[in-house]
C-alpha cells in the first residue's frame, strides 16, 4: 500500500506544483503591479487608433483555406528537403516513396482546385 501511495504521491506533488506555479505567478504580478485603471486603459488595443464598431468582426473564409493549403505544402517541403539531401542513399526505393507521398498531396490539391477553392472571387 505504501508503494502505491508513494507512486501516486508524485502525481499529487506534480499537480500541486502546477497549481502552485500558476498561483504564484499571478499572485506576484498582482502584488507588484501598480493598479490605476482609466477609461483609455480599458479600451481594446488597436495599434493606437480608437476602436470603432463592435468587437465581433468576421474575416473571409478564403484566407483560412489558403492558410491551410499553405501549411500543407510547407510540411511537404519540410519532408522533401532532408530527403533530397540523402537521395543517393535511398535510391530507387526512396524515389518511389516520395512520388507516392507527393501524389497523395497532389490529390488533395486537385480536390481543392476542382472544388473551386483556388479561385478568388
Amino acid at each position: 500500500m505504501s508503494e502505491l501511495v508513494r507512486s501516486y504521491l508524485t502525481v499529487a506533488i506534480f499537480a500541486a506544483a502546477a497549481v502552485g506555479l500558476v498561483g504564484l505567478l499571478l499572485g506576484i504580478s498582482r502584488i507588484l503591479r501598480p493598479q490605476r485603471p482609466s477609461v483609455s486603459k480599458q479600451m481594446a488595443y488597436e495599434s493606437g487608433v480608437d476602436p470603432e464598431g463592435g468587437d465581433w468582426a468576421q474575416s473571409q473564409i478564403r484566407y483560412y483555406v489558403f492558410a491551410v493549403l499553405f501549411v500543407i505544402f510547407d510540411v511537404e517541403a519540410v519532408f522533401i528537403f532532408p530527403w533530397a539531401v540523402r537521395l543517393e542513399v535511398y535510391g530507387l526505393f526512396g524515389l518511389i516513396e516520395m512520388f507516392i507521398f507527393i501524389a497523395i498531396l497532389a490529390l488533395g490539391l486537385g480536390y481543392a482546385w476542382r472544388k473551386g477553392v483556388l479561385r478568388w472571387v
Partner: protein, 496 residues
C-alpha cells in the same frame, strides 16, 4: 561526416501484412479521385463504392487470418497477429454497417456526400492501423488519423448549430486529450529510451530509480485515452457531441472510435505498461466504478434517445474498463472480457442506432416519448429494438449477457477484495441500467401512439440490411457465446 556513416537500410516490407491498409488507402484515394473527376455527378455511387471498398479490405484480412502466421514489420512497430486481425475485421464491419446507416440519411439531408465517405474511410484507415501499432509514434499517428476526419464528420450537419457545436467540442477535447497524451508519451520515452512497446516494458520493469516519472507518464497517457473512450470524469463532451452529430456518425463515434481507444489501451496496459500494474490497476478501478455509475445515473434522467444512448455508452464503457482494474491479477480473462465486450457492444449499439434512424425518419424526433406505441405500427422495429435494449441491459438470450458474464469472470478470477467489490458494483449498475432501457421498452410496447398516428414506418433496403445483420449477430452471440468469446481468446497474443 556522421551522416555519411549512417547507411540506409531499406525496410523489409511484407506486402501481405500491409495489404488491408493499402487497399483501404487505395479505395479512399479512388473515391477522392472520382470526386475530382465527376464532382457532384458521382454522388449516387459513392456509398456503394465505399461499402464495396470496405468488403474488399476484409479480403486481405481474411487471407491473413487463414495464413495464421504472426507478422512484424518496422522493428516491431507494426504487428499483424490474431488479435490485430480480429479488431481490424471488427472495425471494417462496423464501418460497413455505418455506411449502410448513412446512405439515406446523408442523401436525404442534402449534405456533402462524396467527402463524407472518403473521410469515413480515412478514419477507418486510422482504426485499422491502430489495431496493428505496437509503438508510441505509430499509435499516435493512427489515433490522429482516425480522430481528425471524425472531428469533421461530427460537424457534418453544417446548417445546424448543435452539429457545429459537436464538431468544435469534439475537436477541442480531442486535441486537449492528444496534448496530455503526448506529454505522457514523452515522459515514458524519456525514461525508457524507446517508443516501442516491448522495449518500454523491459525498461519500465527495471527503471526503479525513475519511478515518479514513470507513474506520471503512464497516468498522462491513460488520462488521454480516458478522454477518447469517454471515461468519467473525462466524458463531458460525449453527450453533446453524440446528440449534435449526424446520427450515423454518432453510431460511428460511439462504437468504432470508442473501440479504437480501447484497442490502444489494451496494447498499452497489457504490453507497454505490463510491468507497472501497481499504477494501472487502482487508476482503472476508480475510473471504471465512476464511469459506470455516473453514466447510468445520468442516463436515467434523459428524455432524448440519442443522449440516453450516449450516456448508456459511457456506462458501457465503464463495464469495459472494469477488467483493466484486475489487469495484473487476471491478465488472460481480462483481455478476453474486454475484446469480447467490444465485439458484442459494437453490434448491439450499432443496431440500436439503426432503429433510432429508422424511427426518426417517420417521427422526426429523438424524444423517447416519440417511441410510444411503436409496437402497434412497426412491430418489426419494436422487436429489433427490444433485442438491442435487452442486449445492452445484459438479459439473455440477447448477446450482452455474455459480455457482462466475462467481465464478472475476470473480476472474480482475480480473487482479490478489489476485484470482488468491483464485481458487485458492476452488478448494481447492471440492474440500474435496465431501468432506463426499460423506459424505451415501455414506450414502445405499453403506451399508445401519439395522436393515434399508426401509419407504418418505411424502412429502406440498406437500413433493413443493417438491422438484419446486427439483430442476427446480437442473438447469435447470446445463444452461441463461443462465437464471440473465441475471438476474445488472445492469451497467445500477449505471451510475454
Amino acid at each position: 561526416m556522421e551522416l555519411a556513416m549512417l547507411a540506409f537500410e531499406r525496410p523489409a516490407i511484407d506486402w501481405h501484412a500491409f495489404a488491408p491498409e493499402l487497399v483501404l488507402l487505395a479505395v479512399g484515394s479512388i473515391l477522392t479521385l472520382i470526386d475530382i473527376v465527376y464532382n457532384e455527378r458521382a454522388r449516387r455511387v459513392m456509398p456503394a463504392l465505399a461499402a464495396v471498398g470496405l468488403l474488399a479490405t476484409l479480403v486481405p484480412v481474411l487471407t491473413l487470418a487463414v495464413d495464421g502466421a504472426d507478422r512484424s514489420m518496422f522493428d516491431g512497430a507494426f504487428v499483424v497477429d490474431d488479435m490485430a486481425l480480429t479488431l481490424k475485421a471488427l472495425f471494417l464491419i462496423s464501418g460497413f454497417v455505418v455506411v449502410l446507416l448513412s446512405v439515406d440519411y446523408i442523401r436525404d439531408g442534402d449534405y456533402h456526400e462524396n467527402e463524407y465517405y472518403s473521410l469515413l474511410l480515412a478514419s477507418l484507415l486510422g482504426m485499422v492501423l491502430i489495431a496493428s501499432s505496437r509503438d508510441l509514434i505509430t499509435m499516435f499517428i493512427a489515433l490522429e488519423l482516425l480522430s481528425i476526419p471524425a472531428y469533421m464528420l461530427a460537424a457534418w450537419r453544417k446548417g445546424g448549430a448543435t452539429s457545429n457545436e459537436a464538431g468544435l467540442k469534439y475537436y477541442l477535447m480531442g486535441v486537449f486529450a492528444s496534448a496530455i497524451m503526448l506529454y505522457g508519451m514523452s515522459l515514458i520515452f524519456g525514461v525508457s529510451g524507446s517508443t516501442q512497446f516491448d522495449a518500454i516494458r523491459v525498461a519500465l520493469d527495471t527503471g526503479g530509480d525513475s519511478a515518479p516519472m514513470v507513474t506520471l507518464g503512464i497516468l498522462f497517457v491513460l488520462v488521454g485515452f480516458g478522454f477518447k473512450v469517454s471515461a468519467v470524469p473525462f466524458h463531458t463532451w460525449a453527450p453533446d457531441v453524440y446528440e449534435g452529430s449526424p446520427t450515423p456518425i454518432t453510431a460511428f463515434l460511439a462504437v468504432a472510435a470508442k473501440a479504437a481507444g480501447f484497442v490502444a489501451l489494451l496494447q498499452l496496459v497489457f504490453v507497454a505498461f505490463s510491468g507497472r500494474y501497481d499504477v494501472v490497476e487502482p487508476f482503472f478501478w476508480i475510473m471504471a466504478a465512476l464511469t459506470m455509475t455516473v453514466g447510468n445515473l445520468m442516463a436515467l434522467r434523459q428524455t432524448n434517445i440519442v443522449r440516453m444512448l450516449a450516456y448508456s455508452g459511457v456506462a458501457q464503457g465503464g463495464f469495459m474498463l472494469a477488467p483493466f482494474a484486475v489487469a495484473g491479477q487476471a491478465t488472460d480473462s481480462a483481455i478476453q472480457a474486454i475484446v469480447t465486450y467490444l465485439i458484442i457492444y459494437a453490434f448491439m449499439n450499432l443496431g440500436a442506432f439503426a432503429v433510432v434512424l429508422a424511427v426518426a425518419k417517420k417521427t422526426r424526433s429523438g424524444e423517447i416519448s416519440s417511441y410510444a406505441g411503436l409496437f402497434s405500427y412497426a412491430p418489426g422495429l419494436a422487436v429489433a429494438m427490444t433485442v438491442f435494449m435487452a442486449a445492452l441491459a445484459g438479459i439473455p438470450p440477447a448477446g450482452g449477457w455474455v459480455a457482462k458474464l466475462l467481465v464478472w469472470r475476470a473480476l472474480l478470477d482475480a480473487s482479490s477484495v478489489q476485484g470482488t467489490v468491483l464485481a458487485v458494483v458492476v452488478a448494481f449498475n447492471a440492474v440500474l441500467a435496465f431501468s432506463y432501457y426499460a423506459k424505451v421498452l415501455r414506450e414502445m410496447w405499453m403506451s399508445d401512439a401519439p395522436d393515434g398516428d399508426t401509419s407504418p414506418v418505411s424502412v429502406s433496403g440498406t437500413l433493413t440490411l443493417a438491422l438484419g445483420l446486427t439483430v442476427l449477430a446480437t442473438l447469435a452471440f447470446g445463444v452461441f457465446p463461443q462465437l464471440a468469446a473465441r475471438f476474445g481468446d488472445f492469451s497467445a497474443s500477449f505471451a510475454l
